[in-house]
Each structure stands twice: as C-alpha cells, then as structure tokens.
Subunit: 157 residues, 4 copies
C-alpha cells in the first residue's frame, strides 16, 4: 500500500497541560482524531461529507505509545497515514512530533509529505469500521463504491 503522510499542525493549549507541567496523555487521542480528519479532507473524503451520506466510521481500537512530553504553546505536528484498508475496516497510524519551541509560528497543514519529521513524542494507531446511521456494518465497495474507488486509487502503488 502506498504511504500517504499528511501533516496537521497544531498548537498546545493551556487547558491541555496538567500539573506535571506537560500535555495530559488523553489529549493525544483527540489529536490523532484531528490527524485522520485532516487526512481524509486532504484526500478528497471530508468526514463531514461522509456523515451526510449516512456513513459513519466509529473507533474499534486505539493504542498509543508515549515517548516524550509535549509542552505548553509548542508547535506540534500530527503525521497520519492509512495502514490498513478493506471494504469493512480502515486503520490509521499516527505520529505526534515536536516541530519547534513554544511560541514558534504555526504553518498550514501539508498533504503528501515525504516522511514525518521533528522530535517524536508519541505514536499510535486506530482501527475503524464502516457503519450506517443505524449502526449496521457497511461494505463500502458495494454501498459507497465511489468512496472505495477513491481510496483504492490513492493507496495503490
């Protein structure tokens, strides 16, 4: 499968710190959600549009490995790629990396970056299932062939 890395830039907010003086570990799970949302937008399948077509993508599994701590006001990038893809499931892989010191300028997101860069803070993955509004599993190659083909074209070597 072709690796398409998307880079989503964000700033650490005060509320995300805790009394250890670092970003609380629970924030990475929402940063990763931001990462996959922006991957999908940048690659032609905005999640909000998918929902308006009746297609939901709830989380089945998440895992996160923490290496270093993000600090207040730092400039962080979430690098996201798809690591598994089938008509019934979709899996993402993420890296949170420090791009610069507190206060450095925040740039716009970039799609199709060659490789993650910056100091690795945490990595993780999430596995999702395609379902419809009644929470029934959906085989997207049958029910949403245009989404399936778009992803397939993007991800095939």
């Amino acid at each position: 499968m072709k690796e398409i890395w998307h880079q989503h830039n964000l700033r650490v907010h005060y509320k995300q710190t805790d009394q250890m003086g670092v970003v609380h570990h629970a924030n990475y799970i929402t940063w990763f959600e931001e990462g996959r949302t922006e991957w999908m937008r940048a690659n032609g399948i905005p999640y909000s549009k998918m929902e308006s077509l009746g297609l939901l993508l709830p989380v089945l599994e998440v895992d996160i490995k923490y290496r270093k701590s993000a600090l207040y006001d730092e400039n962080i990038a979430i690098f996201t790629k798809i690591e598994s893809f089938s008509p019934i499931r979709l899996g993402f892989y993420y890296e949170a990396r420090r791009l610069g010191k507190a206060g450095s300028a925040l740039a716009l997101d970039k799609n199709e970056v060659k490789a993650p860069q910056g100091e690795l803070l945490a990595s993780g993955s999430s596995l999702h299932m395609w379902i419809n509004k009644n929470w029934k599993p959906v085989r997207i190659h049958q029910n949403y062939p245009e989404i399936y083909e778009l992803l397939q074209q993007k991800l095939e070597k």
Copy 2:
C-alpha cells in the same frame, strides 16, 4: 421563590488540573452543568427523560466568578438552586465549594440541603430556554404542563 439547594459531590481529576497546579477555569462550566443535571434528577425531572419527551434546555448565558482554586484530588461540592423560572426560561445559580483535603472520602449527593457549606471557590449562574427538537421555543405551561406544575409546586413558597 423557595430556595431548594442541591449538593452534588465530586472529586477533582488529574486531567482537570493545568500547569499552574490548579483546576483549569473551564472545568467549572461543566461542573455547573453536572450540578443542574443532578438538581433536576433529585427534584423529579431527570434531564434524560425531558430529552426523551422532545424537550431541550440549551444555554443562553453563563457567568462565573472565580475566588479560590480547586486542587487535584480534592473533594468539591457543587451547590445548585433555581433562581428564575418562567414558561419560557429557567435560570440556575451555583456555588463550587471545597469540602475537604485531597483524598478525603466522597459522599453521595444530597437534595434540599439548608445552605451551601465549605470554602467558596467559585459562583456562577446560567440562563436556559425551553425548546423542542426542531429548536423552536416552547411554552412549557402549554406543551408540557406536568413539568411546569411540578416545578411550580416545588418552587412556590
């Protein structure tokens, strides 16, 4: 109007602290939401039941005054009462108070306590409007007379 104070007890969680070493100020707005939810449950109108009847109660205004900081693991009580009530609006008043040191035992909530006690940390109020599922204003004495009468009986001297 009769004062009915409800006491909702909660513990400060790690994620609610920030790098100043105290509870981040944004948490009080959700603590107050917990307070009014428990006021309504304790007084016969669980919010979840109200929603299942098609009645929503979104927030029009919130204000909070901060005096002292809550600390990690402390035992906090949210004291809530209704301060205004009409067929179209509902207003709550709140006090967040420190009940004990970090680690002290947490008790179950109490309804109809005489008066707030403990060290005052913050006070605030919120104003709400009755609406239906289409976000249209509702006059509850006409559309939900049983809820209106229940509140009126509770709150009249």
Copy 3:
C-alpha cells in the same frame, strides 16, 4: 482605548459536538482562551514568555452569551480585543463567528483586522489579574514595566 481586533481561526472538532448535534457550550470558554493567547502573541507578549518571567494571569470572571450554534467541521473565527487595562487587571472581549460551511478551508490568523465579520454565534468577556508565581497580586507598571509600556503603546489612541 484603541480597538485591536485579532482573528483566530479554528475548526470544530468531532469531540466538541454533543448529542444535540452542535458544539457543547463549554467549548467556547476554551476557544476564548485560545483567542486571548493569540491576541497576546500577535501583539508582542506571548503568554508562554510571560509565564517564564514569573507572571501569571488567572481568570477572575467569565461571561458568555450564546446566540447560534457552531456545527461539526465548520470554520470558526474567534475575534478578540482588550476592553480594559490597568496595572493590576486586564479584560478581554470576544466574539465567536461562523466563517464558512463545514469543510471550507482554514486560513492563518490575522492581527489588527478592522472589525469582526461572519455570523455571530457567541460573545463574551473575561477579567484577569496579574499575579506572580506565589499567587500574589503584581502591579505590572512597577514589576514588569516593559510589558506595561508595550500594552500602553499598543492600546492608546
């Protein structure tokens, strides 16, 4: 006092929605915090730098008025200005406005915009006190004259 409006752009994340299908009201208090953080950065006083000088700016009061609801994935701008300023206190005013539909492109922040634009969703204000690391009030014109003069120059007509 001179009005300096700063425009901070943000995207509505999934976690910020609630089961009414709109952004939960508590998120505006952190959006406003992001707004004042970016006002201060854009005007030469990054909050992270202020903290490293031993100066903190906790919240004394917050009030918010809600008019319309922000929706998932929308492009929101927080417009922030200073509305009061003294050697002991600092007050901000905020407006949250809808800039575009779900999925529209997010632009970089802008400082010194002429006036807020977009559909007004909520407005609010916050009052803060200058304190030192021991939580003692500080008179910044005496203890941090360079910060006081910078703000005074920015804000005087």
Copy 4:
C-alpha cells in the same frame, strides 16, 4: 498475582456525548485514569499522596478496545485491576461496563469486588513507569520501599 478488582461508579455527562449520540471514544482514557486513581486510593496508596512524596507515574502505553457505546446519563462502572508490577513499572487493566439505564441511582465505589459485572462496553490497559520530580526513573523497592511492600503484600497470592 492476586486479582484485586476495584469498582468505580460514574455517570455519563452531557459534554461526554458527541453528535453520533454516544460517548466520544476519548472519554474512556480519562475514565480509566479515574479507575486506577480509585484503585490506588482504595488500596492504601492515594496518588495525591504519592505525588507529595515526589513520586510520579506517567503513562508509557495505552490501548483500548471498544465494543458497545455508553449513552448519556447512564450509570457506568470502571473495573480496574493491576496486571503487572515491578520495581520500575506498573500495569493496569480496565473494563468499562454498563450498570443500568439512564437515570438509575449511582452507588459508592467498592473495592475487592469478586469480578466485573454489567454489560461490557470497552476494555483496555495502561503501562506506567515510576519516576521522580526530575523525570528520572525510580526503582521503588529502593527509593520507596514502603510503597513497594504495600503493593507486594496486596498483590501476592
């Protein structure tokens, strides 16, 4: 190792729901944190006391498997046990289970319950490292022997 299950009861708050009408998946990571905090309090090692002794326990890894969704106002129990324990690391296992319908009464926590009960919603684990205030690894059997022995006595068959 002896299994000591602790049961921490909590109520689903409105802010924890998202526009799919269920609890957003990121909340489980903080529910699990509440679970281990209460395990430690109930077994004689309150986390707040540990911190005041200069001992921190940051998260190295988290994983979560989601099976069913928690709903607004439901009564949820977090069942927590220790699944690994050494002088340098500590590992917890968690289950989030539905105890009752929306609006049902919330009971106080219970320690040393025989086994988790209720409908399984999610399970997960977290791995932690003992460190001191300078973020250096600590071997607790040398530096904090009273904590090591307390845990060892609790957990040995």
